[in-house]
């Protein structure tokens, strides 16, 4: 039975769609791989080395990739395995403070630069697996399901890692543990008072955070 015209057109399009080669997939995956490598190694030079060795491994093992399956996940696993193997060999990592200055934020002026510097230092103190999933979710915009497929780690574990990583950074940056409870005198001011001003002022990002807290609080109050 002949196909309806629309279906015929669709079938022709599928048949004639250019097949994406293994090498094209590899080139397209490189930007995300470089981000993941930087998240793991915390150091630009090491990240470049990690990507290079991972690409070499992928090229050597390309026959084991099954076309139509998730190429990003396949590459992410190679990258992670290479990283773990390098770690076992070296048992040490160059500290984040050795990162070249070119990695620091260039926009937003001096205050924002200092805040990013502080954040970069603290992110380097997170466990590597926490750091990687935080970047995959928060920067690369992957869903937990996609990250789970790429890392072969359950979704619940990934959610736990991201939540823990954020909590650790918050504690280190704002010192919530030591911060005395803010004095709240009226229910209406609770939203604003919940940002401890002294904690914010201790952070290099104070002006940014204070503005965000203020905007957020004001937005809350305006809605009431």
């Amino acid at each position: 039975m002949p196909l309806p015209q629309d279906d015929q057109a669709e079938a022709t399009m599928v048949d004639s769609a250019p097949e994406v080669s293994f090498h094209d997939l590899l080139v397209a995956a490189l930007p995300a791989l470089r981000q993941q490598a930087l998240a793991l190694t915390r150091n630009r030079a090491d990240a470049d080395d990690l990507v290079q060795t991972s690409v070499s491994s992928a090229l050597a093992a390309q026959t084991s990739f099954q076309p139509g399956t998730n190429f990003g996940a396949w590459m992410a696993r190679i990258l992670r395995n290479r990283f773990l193997s390098n770690m076992r060999r070296r048992r040490e990592i160059v500290d984040i403070e050795d990162a070249p200055a070119s990695l620091l934020a260039r926009s937003g002026g001096q205050e924002e630069g200092l805040a990013i510097q502080q954040l970069r230092h603290l992110i380097g103190k997170l466990p590597a697996d926490h750091r990687l999933v935080l970047i995959m979710i928060s920067v690369q915009g992957l869903s937990y399901e996609e990250a789970s497929e790429q890392l072969n780690v359950p979704v619940g574990t990934l959610k736990c890692r991201v939540s823990r990583a954020r909590a650790m950074l918050r504690r280190w940056l704002l010192g919530d543990d030591e911060a005395p409870k803010p004095r709240v005198t009226a229910p209406k001011t609770r939203a604003r008072a919940s940002v401890p001003a002294h904690a914010l002022s201790a952070l290099p990002a104070a002006p940014v955070m204070a503005k965000l807290g203020r905007d957020n609080g004001e937005a809350q109050l305006e809605r009431r």
């Binding site: 080669s21 090498h23 590899l26 080139v27 490189l30 930007p31 995300a32 470089r34 981000q35 930087l38 998240a39 630009r44 990240a47 470049d48 990507v51 290079q52 690409v55 070499s56 090229l59 990695l103 934020a105 926009s107 937003g108 924002e112 805040a115 990013i116 954040l119 970069r120 992110i123 935080l134 970047i135 928060s138 920067v139 954020r166 950074l169 918050r170 940056l173 704002l174 939203a191 604003r192 919940s194 940002v195 401890p196 990002a205 940014v208 955070m209 965000l212 807290g213 905007d215 957020n216 609080g217 809350q220």
Partner: protein, 55 residues
């Protein structure tokens, strides 16, 4: 309090938590976006192209 058998209610984030999350996401993007936007090193592209041409 949630009823027995009903899913637990998700705790609402305090405004300061939201502000911090927002600031953190902006910071992470500032740190990691740049590397993804940079041109791929020539050496890496050459490695891939050499392999492509050998097939």
């Amino acid at each position: 309090m949630s009823k027995p058998g009903s899913p637990p209610k998700r705790a609402r984030k305090a405004p300061s938590d939201k502000a911090f999350d927002l600031w953190l996401d902006q910071g992470l993007h500032a740190m990691f976006d740049e590397v993804a936007k940079e041109p791929i090193p020539e050496e890496l592209l050459r490695l891939i192209e050499q392999d492509r041409n050998n097939k």
